[in-house]
């Protein structure tokens, strides 16, 4: 009987070590959000965002923007403005706290400008659509792999769906072209609500 005890202990130790090793082998899992599903797409595609449809129609580069207020001067930047014109069609569900950001291949994250129009992706009531634009201030030297990411952040940990739109900037050559074609001033359109077709 005495022979069993050390062996039992060793077996127990072995399992503990195995558990520790598996944790070491996949450290990313500790931080990665395993409760997020990402729906990937491109410009022009209708993508599902927890029951709401998000479509990015076009992307425009601009050196300055206007909000359409009276007596305003164009707001300029040392970088470049990227405007995404989009449509959202609201479904049955209510994606909690939707947020939009731009990401590049270098993992740089850009946030929308802090204006009333162009500061976020807007959603309407069920059955209604919104056509609008969201504008980001961006570093023109870091736009390779530019991707729009729309996430919802619920209060509870539930299975969440994010949308990732590839904006078609695969290399520096395309980035250069987009920069050269940038308009000097972009007038941010106000969000328009309409009945979804």
């Amino acid at each position: 009987m005495k022979l069993y005890r050390p062996v039992t202990v060793l077996v127990g130790l072995l399992f503990v070590m195995l558990g520790g090793l598996t944790r070491l082998a996949e450290p990313e899992q500790v931080y990665d959000d395993s409760n997020r599903v990402v729906v990937k797409g491109t410009i022009g595609e209708e993508l599902d965002f927890s029951g709401t449809t998000v479509t990015v129609h076009r992307m425009k580069f601009a050196r300055a923007y206007l909000t359409g207020d009276r007596d305003e001067k164009a707001v300029t930047t040392n970088g470049i403005y990227v405007a995404l014109e989009y449509s959202t069609v609201r479904g049955t569900q209510d994606p909690p706290n939707p947020s939009a950001e731009l990401i590049t291949d270098d993992n740089t994250i850009y946030a929308p400008i802090g204006e009333t129009w162009g500061g976020r992706i807007d959603l309407a009531e069920p059955g209604f659509a919104i056509d609008g634009a969201v504008v980001f201030e961006v570093n023109p030297d870091d736009v390779k792999g530019l991707t729009l990411r729309v996430r919802s952040t619920p209060f509870f940990t539930v299975l969440t769906q994010d949308v990732s739109v590839d904006l078609g900037v695969p290399d520096d050559k395309v980035a250069r072209q987009l920069m050269d074609q940038a308009t000097p001033e972009y007038l941010i359109p106000r969000g328009v609500k309409r009945v979804a077709s």
Binding site: T92, G127, F156, R194
Partner: protein, 185 residues
């Protein structure tokens, strides 16, 4: 003798296994079935009442009608500005609301929010329609409420015209009792 002993042992083992398995299942599934808060937040209706009256919280509700309008006008017959894109209509949910004993009623009345629901699960929140000839909420100074007396309230909604045939009724949420009541017409 030997066989009966074996049978006895086998029965004991099987019953122990069954007991363990069932208690494990119970413990596993219990948080999902009995967590009222979580179940409530999933958004499903807990009871359906035709027309009413039904007491929810300390307020009694009765649904009179769901009416469709192209626009709302005020006392001077002028159009009330609502966010109505082309292709949408205005729904008026006419209700009788009675504040019961125990309801906290301040100088600005009380709150009686109702949402409009359709058979596809879409839920719309009510809109503000200032100047309408009826009360559109329970906190309007022009239409004060008296305890235990019914008052007429018309909840205003804007929905796509295509949704009208799907409308089922108004939804009243009661977080305190984890009830979500659908009042149908």
């Amino acid at each position: 003798m030997m066989r009966s002993q074996r049978v006895l042992r086998l029965t004991a083992q099987v019953s122990l296994l069954v007991a363990l398995a069932s208690s494990a299942t119970f413990v596993l599934v219990r948080p999902y079935l009995t967590d009222e808060d979580k179940v409530y937040r999933q958004g499903s209706i807990t009871e359906v009442v035709e027309r009413g009256p039904v007491s929810i919280g300390r307020v009694q509700w009765q649904l009179e009608s769901l009416e469709v309008y192209t626009q709302l006008v005020n006392a001077e017959k002028k159009k009330i500005e609502l966010d109505q894109p082309a292709g949408s209509v205005v729904i008026l949910a006419k209700t009788f609301i009675t504040p019961l004993d125990g309801l906290k009623m301040g100088a600005d009345g009380f709150s009686c929010p109702a949402k409009l629901r359709d058979d596809r699960g879409n839920v719309w929140e009510s809109q503000n329609a200032f100047g309408f000839t009826m009360a559109t909420r329970c906190s309007d100074e022009d239409f004060p409420f008296v305890r235990n007396k019914a008052g007429a309230v018309a909840h205003v909604f804007v929905v796509p015209a295509s949704a009208v045939s799907h409308l089922t009724g108004i939804q009243i949420d009661d977080l305190g009792d984890y009830r979500r009541v659908l009042l149908t017409r």
